[in-house]
C-alpha cells in the first residue's frame, strides 16, 4: 500500500481547483447523443460521456420467451448491460459478471417507472446496453442511452430518464466522474432522474459523504441531469430539424 503511494502521487484536484482532465468541479464531460443509429432494432441510441461510449438498443414489445415470465397485466422489461471485451484497459471476459448482472437490474429499475408497461400485457420490452468504451459513469450513460432508445422505439413513456454520477474527490464534490476519479476518489454516487417531475429512479453510493456533502452532491446531480435532459430533447428533436428546414 505505502509502496504504491510512494511511486505515484495522485492529485485529483490541482491547486487552481481543476480536475485531472481540466474540468471545473461542476462541469460535465463533453456529451454526445445520437438517436436511431441501428437499423435492425426497434429503437436505438448512441451516447458518449467524454471517453465513455455506449450503444443501447430496444426491441419490442414482443412475445416473451420463456412464456412463464409473462405478466398478464403489463409488459416485462428486461435489460442486459454488457461491457464489450475491448471496452476496458485489460480485456474483460465477455461472460456476464456479477457486477454486470447487478447493473442490469438497477438500470431496469431506473427505467421501469418511466414506461407505460400496462399498455402491452404479456409482452416483453428488451433493452440491450453495450459498453463500447468505458471511462467511468457507464451505468449512467447507459440509462441516458436506453431512455433515448425507448423513446426512439415509440414506446409510451411518462418522461425521459437522464442520469449522471456525482461524487467526492480530494474533498471536493464533483459531477460526472471519470474512471480515475471513480477509482481514487472518496465517493461515487450515480443518480438517475425523471427530469420533468424531479423523481429519482436510481440512487447508489459508494464511499463516504457527510450529510451536507450528500445534499450538495444530490443538488449537483439534479442540476446535471437537467442539463443532460436538455441534450436528450435536442437529440430526439434533431432527427426532424433537418427534414423541416
Amino acid at each position: 500500500m505505502s509502496r504504491a503511494e510512494d511511486k505515484k502521487v495522485i492529485r485529483l484536484i490541482s491547486e487552481d481547483g481543476l480536475r485531472v482532465d481540466g474540468r471545473r468541479p461542476d462541469e460535465l464531460r463533453p456529451i454526445k447523443l445520437e438517436v436511431g443509429v441501428l437499423e435492425k432494432a426497434d429503437g436505438s441510441a448512441y451516447v458518449e460521456y467524454g471517453r465513455t461510449k455506449i450503444m443501447a438498443a430496444v426491441f419490442g414489445p414482443r412475445e416473451i420467451h420463456p412464456r412463464h415470465l409473462a405478466i398478464s397485466e403489463k409488459a416485462v422489461i428486461r435489460c442486459r448491460y454488457h461491457m464489450a471485451p475491448f471496452s476496458t484497459e485489460q480485456r474483460k471476459s465477455p461472460a456476464p459478471s456479477r457486477r454486470e448482472i447487478e447493473l442490469s437490474k438497477v438500470i431496469r429499475e431506473a427505467l421501469e417507472p418511466a414506461v407505460f408497461t400496462e399498455y402491452y400485457p404479456r409482452t416483453s420490452i428488451d433493452i440491450f446496453i453495450e459498453v463500447l468504451q468505458s471511462d467511468g459513469g457507464t451505468r449512467c450513460a447507459g440509462i441516458t442511452a436506453a431512455s433515448l432508445a425507448l423513446a426512439d422505439a415509440g414506446i409510451p413513456m411518462k418522461d425521459l430518464v437522464a442520469s449522471v454520477a456525482v461524487g467526492k474527490v480530494d474533498g471536493v464534490v464533483v459531477a460526472d466522474l471519470c474512471d480515475v476519479e471513480d477509482k481514487y476518489g472518496e465517493a461515487d454516487m450515480p443518480v438517475a432522474l425523471m427530469p420533468k417531475f424531479g423523481e429519482i429512479t436510481l440512487l447508489q453510493m459508494d464511499g463516504n459523504l457527510s450529510q451536507s456533502e450528500f445534499e450538495q452532491a444530490l443538488q449537483l446531480a439534479v442540476e446535471s441531469c437537467q442539463t443532460i435532459y436538455g441534450k436528450q430533447r435536442e437529440a430526439l428533436l434533431n432527427r426532424f430539424v433537418q427534414v423541416e428546414v
Binding site: 402491452y120 415509440g154 414506446i155
Partner: protein
C-alpha cells in the same frame, strides 16, 4: 421520413406539457397527471379545439403488435385436428421485430363445416388471418372470409410450390392436388 407537421402542431418529447385537464381531454399518446397533460411519445402535438382534446401524432413509429381485428401473416407450425399453431411474423404490410404465437381453432377456419384443421392447412403454409381475441395467452385467429386463408403453400408429397388452377391447388412439380382453405389472391400476397 417524418410527415409534414400540420399547422399549430408542435414537436414534443415524452413528458412535455400540453395543457391542463380544464382545457382538453387527453387524446392519443397523451396522459394526465395531477391535472396536467403530458405527451407520451415523440411526435406532433395538436390541440383540437372542437373536440376539446389534445393528442400526439407519433413521429418515430409506434410499437407493432397484434390487436383485435388486425390482419396478420403467419406460418403454420403445428397442427392437430382441432387447432393449428401459427407463428405471426407480419402485421398488415409490416414485418414484426419479434414473433407472436397465434392459434386457429377448427371452428374458425372457414364459413363451411371443417372436419379437421388438416383438411385446410398443413405445417409450413403461410396464411393470412384476422385476430379475433387477444385476451388469452396467445392470439386467437380466424380465417373465415374470402380474403383470408393460405397465401403460399408447398406440396406435402414433393415440396414443390402449389399453384392455383381453377378452384384447386396443384403442385407445380408432381401435379398432386391438395386441399387448402386459401385466400382469393393466393400466390399474389406481398408483404
Amino acid at each position: 421520413m417524418a410527415s409534414k407537421p400540420r399547422e399549430r402542431a408542435k414537436l414534443v418529447v415524452p413528458g412535455d406539457e400540453l395543457g391542463v385537464i380544464e382545457e382538453f381531454f387527453p387524446g392519443e399518446n397523451v396522459y394526465e397527471k395531477e391535472g396536467v397533460l403530458y405527451a407520451q411519445c415523440v411526435g406532433y402535438a395538436s390541440p383540437n379545439l372542437r373536440s376539446k382534446t389534445v393528442s400526439v401524432k407519433p413521429a418515430l413509429g409506434t410499437p407493432k403488435y397484434p390487436r383485435e381485428g388486425d390482419i396478420v401473416y403467419g406460418q403454420v407450425m403445428d397442427i392437430t385436428d382441432k387447432v393449428a399453431t401459427i407463428r405471426i411474423f407480419g402485421l398488415g404490410k409490416k414485418i414484426l421485430s419479434g414473433i407472436f404465437t397465434g392459434t386457429l381453432h377448427v371452428s374458425e377456419v372457414s364459413k363451411n363445416y371443417t372436419e379437421s384443421v388438416l383438411d385446410a392447412f398443413r405445417p409450413g403454409d403461410i396464411v393470412r388471418a384476422r385476430v379475433i381475441n387477444v385476451k388469452n395467452r396467445v392470439c386467437q385467429l380466424s380465417t373465415v372470409g374470402k380474403e383470408l386463408g393460405a397465401v403460399y403453400a408447398l406440396c406435402t408429397k414433393c415440396g414443390g410450390e402449389l399453384v392455383l388452377k381453377g378452384r384447386n391447388l396443384v403442385c407445380k412439380v408432381c401435379k398432386n392436388v391438395e386441399r387448402r382453405k386459401f385466400a382469393e389472391d393466393y400466390g399474389g400476397a406481398r408483404i
